[in-house]
């Protein structure tokens, strides 16, 4: 187990370096082709040249290689790795520390992730099990139909509709009414409210989890149907075990392995923040940070945050891989 984890941790290094290099190339090429982001901070009336030069130096954009299209700027890349290795993720164009901004926003995204995960796991697995057990019956058809709809709808449409219909049309009268409890109105809010750090994230969390919910329900269903036909289930039945034990103890545990794999990848995605959902509901999370940085062409933020997210993604995947062993005794890490 220890050796396995150590091996995986060593594998992180080339992945992170590769990611960094890709990001570095993309941002370098962008600057080389599109132009100097420092100049773009100003409008048509250019500030004195001395100021542009001072700002370029401040943001490490004064290297002449940035003017030679196609030059990979290896020097800058090495500098950046050294900087990141010492825990310094640089500053944005307004002098704010990237790490600080990330840490400020991460708890919000983490809460949103927890809500979305809880929603997709509880509802998704329940729906999948019900559908799997009653294959081709009404409930199965219902689950299959709903999940197709959920997968087919782009998040942007689904989120905007949820905000308009649930958040405004239903939620607003509730928040304004005397009879509805406070928590109910807040659960159906149109945006993030720092006074209700969990409740106001419920609606966006549901929107965010909806796509994965559909995937989880379908994975659970298929996997369960397949396992119900396997030999060990027949043996269990022959032993006279009740349906509850067969499904709950034996089949479901095996059927959940592909689901856990999916959830593991999903955690990584969710922790990266959802650009679209966080944008629609104005949630001050990591996704919004990346969204704003892309708008402002703020390369230090984009590279810094995506690098941190890569690490988060790798770690969450490692944790999930270790969890396999707990679910399936046949899997051993040594």
């Amino acid at each position: 187990m220890g050796r396995y984890v150590a091996r995986r941790l060593i594998q992180f290094i080339p992945v992170i370096l590769g990611t960094l290099f890709l990001l570095h190339m993309l941002s370098t090429l962008t600057i080389q082709i599109v132009g100097d982001p420092v100049r773009a901070l100003f409008g048509p009336n250019a500030p004195p040249q001395a100021i542009i030069e001072e700002l370029q130096a401040r943001y490490n954009l004064d290297d002449p290689c940035l003017e030679q299209t196609g030059n990979p700027c290896v020097g800058l890349f090495v500098d950046r790795i050294g900087q990141y290795a010492s825990g310094d993720f640089g500053v944005n164009f307004r002098g704010r520390s990237v790490m600080e901004m990330f840490l400020e926003r991460f708890p919000v995204t983490a809460r949103l992730t927890v809500i979305a995960l809880a929603f997709e796991i509880v509802v998704g697995i329940t729906a999948g099990v019900l559908a799997g057990l009653k294959k081709d019956k009404l409930i199965d058809n219902l689950v299959r139909f709903t999940t197709v709809v959920l997968i087919a709808f782009p998040v942007f449409v689904f989120g905007s509709l949820a905000l308009l219909l649930v958040g405004l049309k239903i939620g607003l009268p509730l928040r304004n009414s005397d009879w509805a409890p406070e928590w109910l109105g807040q659960m159906l809010n149109v945006g993030y409210d720092p006074d209700y750090p969990w409740l106001s994230l419920v609606l966006p969390g549901i929107v965010l989890g909806a796509f994965s919910l559909a995937a989880i329900a379908r994975l659970t269903r298929t996997s369960l149907i397949e396992n119900l036909r396997s030999d060990y289930v027949r043996t269990a039945r022959a032993k006279g075990l009740g349906a509850r034990d067969i499904v709950g103890v034996h089949t479901l545990r095996n059927s959940l392995i592909p689901v856990i794999t999916y959830i593991g990848i999903d955690i990584g995605f969710l922790l990266g923040g959802s650009l679209v959902t966080e944008g629609i509901f104005n949630i001050p999370g990591v996704g919004q940070l990346v969204f704003l940085a892309i708008q402002a062409n703020d390369a230090p933020v984009i590279i810094g945050v995506v690098t941190i997210l890569t690490v988060v993604f790798l770690v969450s995947n490692l944790v999930v891989d270790i969890l396999y062993a707990a679910l399936d005794p046949r899997i051993r890490y040594d």
């Binding site: 409008g43 250019a46 149109v190 944008g279 629609i280």
Partner: protein, 538 residues
């Protein structure tokens, strides 16, 4: 209170004139209302919420060169002086008691009011101004508004400019490198010339989060980046622009749609409507939306060294072939005002009949083209604009009108903003290019010199007319404001005859507000809503 608070200058969204929404402008209905029917009926007190885009910097104020930060800074700072938009004269409703110039307009003496302090109790003295201005002019500090200091003698050469001199505690003497009659008007751009407290100067980073100001409002809790800025009434304020509401919450949103939804939800009381939500809001709110003109000019510039744009008659013909009214109505939802001058209407000295070639007259356009001797047959005009800022539709509409009237084919070129600026700086445009300009200070000089003056800050056409430069210089040295404005207008006339740029329209803004607030108006000088005047209804 309203009569005192007049048109100050600020907008300074020249850095942001990417789209109509980025900057504001407004109308001066307040000035016309003065003395007759003042609509300000609300009383002081209460709290309201307004939408704001995340500002760049709050401290030092000299790093603020856009309407977002000046919206906040104008509440927490008093200006040095204000400018009346009707007459163009200075109004001493800020920190300065008097501003005088010597005979040749080169040495300016600024006398400060006695007894005023910063929020932290430090006195507002000549030293606090000298400290701020010296910091701003030093290129090592890379301040966004350093350009405002460039007229001061010795600016941009080191940590201290020789032209800034503290005479005594209340008196500051500024020496300019050339005569400049509009220096007083320029001083009314508050952020660039704000004083800085020693406490703020010692720790600029923490001051940026909790600025120490001089105005009617103060920030008691730090700036929550990308989320909220709250300002509260400062109990010890002794100035002449008192606060109405007890506190104002500025909330930031990722997208204009999210802001509008929060407005519908009752979370916001005041917001500027972005083009994305304007039509939807108009359907719901109708006449409750406040629409006012801004001081932002949108124009097409010509590379006047390239054929056929090197021919004055061609430039005039193109201008007359464009139906600005139609574009404004059909493409811009009526939220703009067709240009009649290079100077936009809210500015003192702007005229509504200055631009002979800005009217739509296809017959005259054809005649002008015929006189020029240029044959449009087989000629394709390249039009340029920056992408993703809402310019696609109107540039194409204008290009089509030119094609229909004059017969020039067209091709549209759009690039990212950074690249666009690079092409501009390099003078690489081969056809009409879109640009915008908004005021730094309310003087016609602030339009004429940068846009059409030789080597002007925003002159990318290559246009150079010594006669025009001479008239602007004479205006700079003029001893009376009327004389100065007259000279600037003469300079403007030369440019409007030569047409190195064709003025298209000046912008408009739309503001929505809830029933809970009153007295909402647009302050064209600030380039933003006059937040300090908004009252909260009982």
């Amino acid at each position: 209170m309203r009569a005192k608070r007049s048109w100050r200058v600020a907008a300074a969204c020249s850095a942001l004139v990417l789209g109509l929404a980025a900057c504001g402008g407004g109308n001066d209905d307040a000035d016309q209302n003065e003395g007759t029917s003042d609509p300000s009926t609300g009383t002081a007190g209460g709290t309201y919420a307004a939408e704001l885009t995340e500002p760049t910097f709050l401290a030092p104020a000299s790093n603020c060169y856009e309407s977002e930060c000046s919206a906040v800074l104008d509440l927490i700072n008093d200006p040095l002086v204000s400018t009346d938009f009707e007459s163009g004269e200075l109004i001493y409703d800020g920190l300065a008691e008097e501003i005088t110039a010597n005979e040749d307009q080169t040495v300016w003496t600024i006398t400060l009011k006695e007894g005023r302090t910063f929020h932290n109790g430090e006195p507002i003295d000549a030293e606090s101004f000298a400290r701020a201005w010296n910091f701003s002019q030093d290129p090592d500090n890379a301040q966004a508004t350093a350009g405002f200091m460039s007229r001061i003698e010795g600016a941009g050469e080191g940590p201290e400019a020789s032209g800034i001199k503290v005479v005594d505690e209340q008196t500051l003497e500024v020496t300019l490198d050339k005569p400049f009659s509009q220096f007083g008007q320029m001083l009314s751009y508050a952020p660039a010339f704000a004083p800085i407290a020693q406490e703020c100067f010692d720790d600029i980073d923490s001051c940026n989060d909790t600025p120490i100001g001089t105005g009617a409002y103060e920030m008691t809790e730090p700036w929550q980046h990308d989320q909220q800025i709250t300002v509260e009434k400062w109990a010890d304020y002794e100035g002449e622009q008192p606060a109405m509401a007890d506190s104002v919450e500025f909330k930031m949103f990722t997208t204009p749609v999210a802001a509008y939804r929060d407005f519908q939800n009752g979370g916001l009381d005041v917001l500027s409507l972005a083009p994305e939500v304007y039509l939807e809001a108009q359907g719901v709110l109708g006449d409750a939306i406040i629409e006012e003109p801004t001081a932002t000019l949108t124009y097409l510039g010509f590379p006047i060294d390239e054929a056929p744009y090197d021919n004055k008659k061609v430039r005039q013909a193109i201008s007359m072939a464009i139906d600005r009214e139609l574009i404004v109505d059909q493409v811009l939802n009526g939220l703009a005002y067709p240009s009649t001058d290079i100077v936009t209407p809210p500015i003192p000295g702007a005229r509504d009949d200055a631009c002979e070639y800005c009217t739509y007259d296809p017959e005259r356009a054809k005649e002008l083209l015929a006189e020029s001797g240029v044959d449009p047959e087989g000629m394709t005009l390249q039009y340029y604009f920056n992408a993703g800022a809402g310019h696609d539709a109107w540039v194409e509409a204008a290009a089509r009108q030119v094609q229909k009237t004059l017969g020039f084919d067209y091709e549209l070129n759009s690039t990212e903003w950074a690249q666009y600026l690079e092409l501009l700086d390099g003078g690489d445009f081969e056809g009409p290019f879109r640009l915008g300009w908004s005021l730094d200070y309310p003087s016609p000089e602030n339009y004429i010199r940068p846009i059409v003056g030789t080597d002007g800050d925003s002159n990318y056409t290559g246009y150079s007319n010594p006669e025009l430069d001479e008239l602007v210089a004479q205006g700079d040295a003029a001893t009376s404001l009327d004389e100065a404005i007259d000279l600037y207008q003469q300079a403007g006339d030369l440019a409007l005859e030569d047409m190195p740029i064709i003025p298209m329209w000046s912008g408009g803004t739309a503001i929505a507000h809830s029933d809970e607030v009153g007295n909402v108006r647009f302050d064209v000088g600030e380039g933003e809503i006059a937040y300090g005047e908004i009252t909260v209804e009982e």
